[in-house]
Symmetry: C2
Subunit: 320 residues, 2 copies
């Protein structure tokens, strides 16, 4: 939680009064989501999440994000459903910021990923891709391959402060990925940031997908590549092929992967590693000294990238 | 939230399983309480607060704090009630730290204090003082008059970094308060930190008192002095005698103040100002550069202290 907008009790109560969700009885600022201020609120009717959108989310993207959650929730994807005010609007303003109330999802995110979690994730991801098919608004990926080189240029001069090997690795990889990036794979709405802290489980059952604020239109298989990076490496940075096989098999049970998608998978995985390596590097170098929230280690993704670089084909991810 | 212990979903579920409160369905880290890690948890039965005690709370004090909340809640003081595990224990361990689950209190703390809130507070404070009378454990005030000079000595050399006027003010005031501190006033269990963010309201009705981690045995009237400082100054640092009168009148309707307590009130208010001035000064000077949580301004309490220093008697606080 990098930023936190404080809202007075009076403003908050008045704001909740614009919805048909009962009277406000409690509001707690929660340590969830790095980009926005989130409150878990309770009314006389139910629990909800109130989000105030901070600077890192562009206001013009909010109709896409909120519209998408509405669209997916209507199609039984377990994601937060935006609550509409009496005037029909889901996107409002509070304390000078864009704000929205969404339904509260039960479940906990798991810090100890097991293959069964990856299988649940794979199935839910395929369902998400299918459910987004007829969503009418489009949003470019703001962190796609075309954005990686400019992002690196903002960090290049200081990359050696993190590790001497980083600059040559990234430069080599940028060239390789730009060269090999596939041209025409099946595409649609993807989540693009489906890390374990964005997926809730009750026991072994997936109960919620949250944080759609990187969602965009891009290759479906790139979403899988993000998940392979985020879910299938162990703490010691080794790749767990069993988890990958579970993830991919469960996905394919819902949506077939084309030959082109299978062949592109190693390149897409390298790209996804590079994307998180670059944003982590940027955040690491731009973190204020003594900040309480320690940025995530970019070298973790350098290790994942090294794995994907030596892969010879999609079989390395447990595909038959 | 200065420190935050992350607890895995598996540890958390196993921990909740030691209580008779249903199965865990959600847990959110909340931005409440600076000293400890707090989670708002939901089970299949109800909502609760799970607290992990961080370094700033001494483990040997926990039986006092938890025992006190149990004692007060049993006497209908609206405070968090510790939940006992199946083995009868309220104080347990989680993620290597002492931990406890308490009942969840509805309500919001108010950022816009009105006289009616002060009246509610006064009544609740008198009831708290009465309800604590037969609590058997004792705890010295760790931030009483004897602790102020040693605390100042840790900050004295750098007090001028905050403001040039601070060192002479504090030195003069330490001498004055040590000289004038009353010797024998009615005493018992006090909250000692009843700031607005520790008091919940639903509408104008007080619904909860929280954060008993400074509670101790000391003069009852000192607790009133803390509240006069915390609740009765405006944002422009002027004193609002109407709020003070409401606070004191509502208190006196429940518990009479002796002549000695009335006469000591200006000195107790000076002491309470000094106590928060000193801890804020210490925190200000010891805050890491670039920290995300900005420490509170010590000069606010220098202004309150200046008010109390020119007071000629208890009438200045709205007393007849």
């Amino acid at each position: 939680m990098a930023v936190y907008t404080e809202v007075s009790d009076e403003e908050m109560s008045a704001f909740i009064g614009e919805y048909d969700i009962g009277d406000l009885v409690s509001a707690k600022g929660i340590a969830e989501g790095v980009e926005n201020s989130n409150y878990l609120i309770r009314t006389t009717v139910d629990s909800y999440i109130l989000t105030l959108y901070e600077k890192r989310v562009r206001e013009e993207d909010l109709p896409f994000f909120l519209g998408l959650m509405d669209h997916l929730a209507d199609r039984d994807i377990p994601c937060p459903q935006p609550i509409h005010g009496r005037d029909g609007k889901a996107l409002r303003r509070l304390a000078g910021r864009p704000a929205a109330v969404t339904s509260f999802l039960e479940g906990l995110w798991t810090k100890k990923i097991r293959p069964v979690h990856c299988a649940e994730l794979g199935g839910a991801l395929a369902q998400l891709h299918a459910a987004g098919a007829d969503f009418p608004i489009r949003r470019m990926n703001g962190l796609g391959p075309a954005d990686w080189r400019p992002l690196y240029q903002q960090a290049a001069a200081r990359a050696h402060e993190v590790d001497e090997t980083l600059a040559p690795l990234i430069e080599d990889e940028l060239a390789a990925v730009e060269r090999a990036w596939p041209e025409d794979l099946p595409a649609g709405v993807i989540h693009a940031d489906l890390f374990p802290d964005n997926v809730f489980f009750i026991g072994e059952r997936l109960s919620g997908l949250i944080d759609f604020y990187f969602a965009c239109n891009d290759y479906f298989a790139y979403d899988l590549a993000v998940c392979l990076n985020a879910w299938c490496f162990e703490r010691d940075r080794s790749f767990n092929i069993t988890k990958a096989r579970q993830l991919l098999s469960a996905y394919r049970a819902e949506r077939a992967l084309s030959q082109a998608e299978l062949e592109a998978l190693p390149t897409l995985c390298r790209g996804a590693s590079l994307r998180f390596l670059l944003t982590r590097l940027y955040d690491w170098l731009n973190c204020p000294a003594g900040a309480l929230v320690k940025p995530k280690d970019p070298m973790e993704y350098a290790a994942y990238l090294a794995f994907h670089r030596q892969v010879e084909g999609p079989g390395a991810y447990g595909l038959d």
